[in-house]
Amino acid sequence: MMMRGGRSLVSSPPAFSNDAKKLLVCTSNTVSVFSTATGLQITSLEGHTALVTSVVVVPPSSPAAKVLCYCWTASLDGTIRYWDFSVPELMKTIDIRVPIFNMVIPSFLDIPAVDKGKHQDLFAYVFTEDTKETQEKTKALRRQIRKCNLSKSRLVGRLILGETKKPEVLTVSPSGKFFGIRNKCKLHIWKVPDQGSEHAAVRKITLHHTKKITVIAFHPTQRVIAAGDVTGRILTWRGFGNIAFAENQKLINIQEDKPGVRDNDDADSCSTWHWHSAEVNVLSFSSDGAYLYSGGKEGVLVVWQLDTGKKKFLPRIGSPLLYFIDSPDPTLSAISCADNQIHLLKMPSMGILKTISGIKTPCCYPEMCKGLGNGIAFDQTAGLVALRTENYCIQFYSLFDDRGISEVHVCERNHQPGDDVTVIVTAVALSVDGSLMSTSEVKLAEEGIGGLVCLKFWQAGSQNKEFSLSTIVYDPHRDAGISAVTFHPSGNMVVSSSFGGDFKIWRCNNDIIQNDQMHQNFSWTCHAVGSYKKRPMTAAAFSADGSVLAVAAETLITLWNPYKNVLLAVLGETLTPIVNLSFLGKSDNLAAASCGSNPQLSVWSMSKLSLSWSYKLCIEAVASAVDSSSFAALALLPESSNETTFKGRDGVILLYNATNPVPTAIWSVKKAKGGALGFLQVNPSSVEEVDGKTPEVLLAYMSGDHEYVVFDPYCKDAHEVSISQKEGLSSLELKGQGGQYGYASIYGELPEFDKKSPETPWVPSFPSERPWETIFSGSSHNLPPLTKLCSAFLESLLEKRTAAVE
């Protein structure tokens, strides 16, 4: 069994069904059908093997046909498919063998009725990539607009309407008479020919502008076209194509005054509106043609009254707008935002009725704030993932249901896209039962003043995942940043480690306040402070029973008794600072991942206080199952091996048994940078059974783009499933390499990782250039007898005359 999710809902514009009760959203290889009443997914159309780029709902030919649910979809796999999405059922597949970036079907918009006995062909205009003629053509103009006869399932031969460098968006007018594209500073408009032969000549005009045009929109009834440009201006040409598209080719007075129209273009007038400060991404006329909707990077939907130019706003959407779709129901429309949300708007008032919440996209922060971790935490029991978002929230996303559950506003701020980032949520941690959360945030200083670090503790309310703030700690480690926050298994203790050289243990005091109902109030206080030689503390972890706390002091691992705050032992040392510590389930092993110039994954035995084994691997994430000794590590592949062996996959998931340095399973993945791993406990109701037995645990992998896959790491079928799905070239792909018949073959492919073969040193330290620094460190019962040490020590003091001996 295997579950995928977290796909982008906003890769291409969605489409409403004819009764406006369903919304069809392109989600990578599939088209998901959502109910507009509930905002939940009803069904999905599966069949395409690559990204679906367009979905076009067949409009009703008569009012009675409104209930019919047919749609055309086009995909990068080179097929156009025809679906009945109420069932859902695939009706027809047209394979044109070239990737389709965009498709519009203008013709059926003006076909009066198909049932008159006279069969008329249905034409679509598609934006394709020319793959065949690569040799002859210049590389620049490979993207073509072509005409496709959908009724006869073929491209109209040799008819190439236009060519551009990059795939552009085809926009069709609501009347179905025109379609156009933008091309840099120009605008090309074609008139759709009337019914007739497929080779009918298509007439074209071009309108010019001085700035790069980003989006165009056609007026539903008049010959008006609006275009937005990168500077935020909206241009409206009225009466375009009066000359070129004139019905009876009469010569009209050319010397007419044409205000605002450039270069003797074929339009009556051109007017400009300027409100947007950045580029316009959304332009759409209302269905009656009285209003124009525009939106852009600043996340404000503007409604222009077309005649007067008066404006109305829906402000503070908090994310750049991508698409605005009108529905057949005049009171409903949808906007897609860049943060993977689709808001359904109640129209005249522009209130948000429902939000179809996809997984939020990862935040991009300026360079100086790198190395803050990926801000992802898994709730093992509920199958949720908590991830930080750009608008200072923690989004809870259900991995099994593939939808957003809730959002917790961590900082009391609103996010404005395009603003400088000054507040960053750095870490999020969840307790094992998921009822408590701890977050840390950093407010960046302005020229050295006013910086602030906050540690916040949250408690879940009575309703699921409605967190309320219980304690704020300002500047918990003076002005030093927090490197890690971890919950104790019992949930009433938290450790926060800082780069400033100390860690603090916070304890929870819960007093039950008797109000109308029983109300638990948690308050967190500092229980202990610890530091080790003033080294920066870079990672922290509690053991499964909670009796040992491991804190990484750069290259050393310090072990503490968290209740009494006593240093138990020091393990060391690695070559570069440790960024990730994890106790391996119930076993007495500890995994430490360090990165930098000499990355390393090392496993330490707690019973022997020594290194068990280590690899030279750059580890992005480590996850360990609660009640078994195996653990999974997400390793980034070195750049060199990327091209040939792994076909664009840049990471591998390695499943280890703690005692065995040979991985038990390997999967290669895409976009591992910034990814996360987590084991999930299985809730039998949520998981279908495989071969009559439910898997014990599931492993969730989330890529750097927040797409995820959940699978059973121990099930052999999982490998085969992933292989059969290998053909589906989704952006996230898991390949069970070597999973079929042992991993030995794939293990042979990775010889470069084994530079450091498993080793067990006899003292808990690496022999370094200067042994006198490390030779005497460690617990006394671990130290070898003095006679041995003495000779080594003296030897190290003596200069070696290697050459002279010869």
Binding site: I317, K346, G351, I352, T422, E447, G450, I472
Partner: protein
């Protein structure tokens, strides 16, 4: 009640966030317990100028529970109602005594008052007319206590320095029983609240004896040894326990269990002079109940409240003089404490006038009478159409909810309009430093603070410098304000040099920073002294 939103429910993506100051840390110690809240809710009134030590205090059992205080050779009656008004003069005074009054006691109906004095005389007065009705003379030495039995209106109990306890027939002015057995001064006694025949007396011979008038040969039924001269003894309301005070301790004895000591409370550090029973109303999960406490006062000036159910001291209060006597009114609204220098500390609690605990001390439970439920107005009643805005909704009404309007302060409005400098100036004028710092932090987040500073004109810069000179060294804000101060002086050096008022602000600033430096220096010295000690302590 069903709720309907005024507009159809639409979700808001973004909220309006006000600029709020940072939260202050809460105290780690718990706030007042409900119990200490109760005991400190008695609003204290001093009744001064009563010449000498208040030897005895007693509440009348009949409402409105006036109390009598015995001091020197007189007894004064006070009305608790007048205490609320701040009137502290006695309502009446009895002064027909030839010697110092040692003890007073009301009869159970509150009409008669018995008083004993050091001449050996016990007198019974009519409370209203203040005339001595009976004079009981039989004691040969000073009488130390006199007590009316709780359930008996005809007899009286007294004891004195002649070590004899006398049981009187009041009407005939004759002694019914002479109870001999104590070997030293008898100082105190109490009558059982459940039986008219039983009573206890305490003496300086360290013993407390339980007497029964039905026993023929006038011997004590039970005897317990307190271990110290007994200053006071009381029956606890159940009648099975007694509490004795002597030395620094208050001990509780179980009489039914044969005189077994239940607990000894030793939280006073001087002699406990007087104890009485106090009551507290407990609210447990909705229903009210009364619980009894022992109030004890001592020469150390403390009043302690002892919960003998849980055996712990639940409240203690300090008074500025040695305390001699204490009593608590049966309606639980007044407690009075007498000191050795003639002051009565009377405490009165606000409450409904009709709060009555029924039959006084005998009723242990408190029955709460359920109030008749108020019925909501029906549309059949004419007042239904006269309801105002403040009308509360009734069950079954449909509530039309409207979103609460967010109140924006002036600086919030200005920040919303991105008028950053105006926001800073407006909040500087408002004199609330938390808000000033909060606005500054918001400006830092918007990366606009330094631009604001550079745009301030001379007057506004003066405001800012004044604020900085006052607050820059406050530890809560110093991390931001010290940095800002440096930047302000650096950026606006020329403006400051050219203006005299600004120079004055800078001088103030310099002074406060020098002061802070001195403090830091001395703190460092202290740290230098302490840290070796800590290190040595850590080694052990």
């Amino acid at each position: 009640m069903a709720e309907i939103r005024a507009e159809e429910q639409t979700l808001a993506i973004s909220k309006t966030f006000l600029i709020k100051p940072k939260l202050k840390p809460k105290a780690r110690t718990l706030p007042q317990t409900p119990e200490s809240k109760y005991w400190s809710s008695f609003k204290s009134t001093q009744i001064p100028n009563l010449v000498s030590s208040i030897s005895s205090l007693s509440f009348s059992p009949s409402p409105p529970h006036p109390f009598a205080a015995a001091y020197y050779a007189s007894v004064s009656l006070f009305s608790p109602l007048s205490l609320s008004d701040g009137n502290v003069s006695p309502s009446s005074t009895i002064s027909s005594f030839s010697d110092v009054v040692s003890s007073i006691s009301f009869r159970s109906d509150g009409l008669l008052l018995a008083a004993s004095d050091l001449s050996g005389l016990v007198q019974v007065f009519d409370v209203k007319t203040r005339t001595p009705l009976r004079r009981l003379r039989s004691h040969t030495r000073p009488v130390r206590f006199v007590k009316y039995p709780v359930l008996d209106k005809l007899h009286l109990l007294s004891g004195g320095d002649d070590a004899v306890v006398k049981f009187w027939d009041v009407a005939g002015e004759s002694v019914v029983l002479d109870l001999t057995g104590h070997k030293d001064y008898v100082r105190c006694g109490d009558c059982s609240p459940v039986s008219s025949d039983l009573f206890v007396t305490g003496s300086y011979d360290h013993t407390v004896k339980v007497w029964d008038v039905r026993v023929e040969d006038s011997r004590s039924v039970l005897e317990v040894n307190h271990g110290k001269p007994v200053e006071d003894v009381i029956y606890l309301p159940s009648g099975g326990l007694i509490a004795t005070a002597g030395g620094n301790s208050v001990k509780i004895w179980d009489l039914i269990g044969g005189g077994r000591m239940v607990h000894s409370m030793e939280s006073h550090n001087k002699t406990v002079t007087s104890i009485c029973v106090g009551r507290i109303r407990k609210e447990n999960c909705g229903d009210e109940s009364m619980e009894d406490r022992i109030l004890s006062v001592g020469l150390d000036g403390y009043m302690k409240v002892f919960d003998y159910g849980n055996m712990r001291v639940t409240h203690s209060m300090r008074f500025p003089a040695p305390l001699m006597s204490v009593d608590f009114s049966p309606d639980c609204r007044t407690r009075v404490i007498g000191t050795s220098n003639g002051i009565i500390f009377a405490g009165r609690r606000k409450g409904k006038e009709n709060v009555e605990s029924g039959g006084g001390w005998n009723v242990l439970g408190f029955e709460s009478i359920s109030e008749p439920e108020r019925r909501g107005l029906r549309p059949t009643h004419f007042r239904y159409f006269h309801r105002g805005q403040s009308e509360k909704p009734v069950e079954g009404d449909y509530l039309v909810m409207r979103n609460k309007k967010v109140k924006l302060a002036e600086h919030d409005k200005l920040l919303k309009k991105f008028r950053h400098k105006d926001a800073l100036v407006s909040v500087l004028n408002k004199k609330s430093r938390e808000n000033v710092v909060a606005v500054m932090e918001e400006l830092v987040t918007r990366k606009k603070l330094l631009k604001c500073v550079s745009n301030l004109d001379a007057d506004e810069l003066g405001l800012l410098l004044m604020f900085l000179s006052k607050n820059a060294t406050m530890p809560r804000y110093s991390s931001l304000l010290m940095g800002l101060t440096g930047k302000v002086i650096e950026m606006r050096a020329e403006d400051i040099r050219s203006s005299d008022p600004l120079k004055g602000h800078i001088r103030n600033l310099k002074r406060s920073i020098e002061e802070e430096l001195r403090i830091q220096h001395s703190l460092q010295e202290i740290q230098g002294i302490i840290s070796p000690l800590l290190r040595i302590a850590g080694r052990r």
